[in-house]
Amino acid sequence: TELKPEEIREIIWEFKLALIENDVAVVVADHICEQLESNLAGLKIGRFNDKRKIIKEALRETLLKLFETPNKVDLIEIVKKKQVLKEPCVIIFVGINGTGKTTTIAKIANLLLKRGYSVVLACSDTFRAGSIEQLEQHAKKLGVHLIKHRYGSDAAAVAYDAVQYAKTRGINVVLVDTAGRMQTNKNLMAEMEKIIRVVKPDLTIFVGDALTGNDAVSQAEEFNRYVDISGSILTKMDADAKGGAAISIVYVTKKPILFLGVGQRYEDMELFKPDLIINQLLN
């Protein structure tokens, strides 16, 4: 027999609510379920097949496809390529306020140092109280140099200086920290655009908070629109986050998620694997 639209609509609605309860943005859940419905239309199933199970597996397929972005981003591979070219790999981190950019930079620096690469940090957050002291403490703990100017100075200039510093000393990687900014603040988004234009980073990473709700769509959309992000890092997954924000961000940007932040220590970062989030969502 053929799956009829009315019988699957009720089940799909339940799955849609489950997606939303797991922090998938409503508009993204809508699109996913529309696609699911069209994929299931006219599907022939046996009279005694479990409809719910079939729909669940179809949803799993839809979600897995969603995570197959056109580009893969392998951080270490990109660092290696730049090393061969004898150029520093410049990575800049952007996102709204408090998502974990500064802490993530410390984690990435730690990861790179462990693999034997040299790192220099740049504090291009010249605005927020204590931003320089915070990054400075991390730099000290990691044993890396920090390029900083005074509070109120030009953010792009700090990043530029850091790249020059890395070039003259043969440092493998420059990690650039930027100030948190609301995606709705045109001036700050323009400032960020300028930093990217001046510094020409090899990677621009959007850092998002896994606890974010529907705003994840607007954030990812706007940041991607202004500076064509290379990929994202989702932090605070350890805070019982359901991971739906990962789906929203990837759906909207079509760029991969590189890592998940799973705690506040340097070692609390894992490579992103879509199956983990999808399994959690469907079970």
Binding site: I96, G98, D209, L211, G213, D215, D240, A245
Partner: protein, 290 residues
């Protein structure tokens, strides 16, 4: 900010010639979608919409009021009821020292809000002092000190002391003569058991007059669960919703209120020290309904 799509569906309803069951059901469905997009907790949205639908369809419309207007009134009332009918001010007892302790998830906006609240009270003639009891975050004392320096408010902290209770008690001794002392704490979430325990102990030792939880306005479906867990560990007196200057609609905070009964007393509307507004429920919902 729960607003514009709800306003659109209300406009659609007013366009309908007669308000019948189908139109009400349609309105409630649009409403559900709008509330979900605003990050209101799914369970709460389903409860709310069931109640609204029952009232809209079954309540006797008061004489002289068109049924359409009655439906709008029902929607408005149910949401205002959730937020608390009247704004609740943060109570400061004159002639004694008031201690406020700030808690919340990592990065929600506590440190910034502590400084903003200090400014708010300073403008009203109170002598305010701050304590940095965040012994974990790199640069925490520098951050709070720099903010406080902007408004000439004293800060106590100790970068070599790892015990937040010791710092808080030392700071309270030092600031005995102040009207208001605000204590900033480290960010934590409900599954960090030792940090939740640390927060409990800190509250027992310093006995604050009010515990204030800062909630990130961009938080989604987890807001209610986080707030509930914090509340069970240390009873929350009030909530401040930060980052409402962005595009997030703050439904998570609404869910946190419903889950804890703690009223929202302020909202954060920016990164500067003056970006703090007292929370006004009816005005908020009025803006919400356009």
């Amino acid at each position: 900010k729960l607003g514009s799509s709800l306003y659109e569906s209300l406009k659609k309803m007013f366009g309908a010639a007669v308000v019948d069951e189908a139109v009400v059901k349609d309105l409630i469905r649009d409403l559900q979608r709008s509330l979900l997009q605003a990050d209101v907790n799914v369970r709460l949205v389903l409860d709310l919409s069931k109640r609204m639908e029952e009232r809209a369809l079954k309540e006797k419309v008061p004489p002289g009021i068109p049924r359409k207007e009655h439906v709008v009134k029902v929607v408005y009332e149910e949401i205002v009821r959730l937020l608390g009918e009247k704004p609740v001010p943060l109570k400061v007892t004159p002639g004694k020292r008031n201690v406020f302790m700030f808690i919340g998830v990592q990065g929600s906006g506590k440190t910034t809000t502590v400084a903003k609240l200090a400014r708010y009270f300073q403008k009203r003639g109170f002598k305010v002092a701050l304590i940095c009891a965040d012994t974990f975050r790199a640069g925490a004392l520098a951050q709070l000190s720099q903010l406080a320096a902007q408004i000439n408010v004293p800060v106590y902290g100790d970068e070599d002391e790892k015990n937040p209770v010791k710092i808080a008690l030392e700071g309270l001794k030092k600031f005995e003569k102040y009207d208001i002392v605000i204590v900033d704490t480290a960010g934590r979430h409900k599954d960090e058991k030792s940090l939740i325990e640390e927060m409990k102990i800190l509250q027992e030792e310093i006995k604050p007059d009010e515990i204030i939880m800062v909630i990130d306005g961009t938080m989604g479906q987890q807001a209610a669960a986080q707030a509930k867990a914090f509340h069970e560990a240390t009873p929350i007196g009030s909530i401040v919703v930060a980052k409402l200057d962005g595009s997030a609609r703050g439904g998570g905070a609404l869910s946190a209120v419903a889950a804890t009964g703690a009223p929202i007393k302020f909202i954060g509307t920016g990164e500067k020290i003056d970006d703090l507004e007292p929370f006004d429920p009816p005005r908020f919902v009025g803006r919400l309904l356009g």
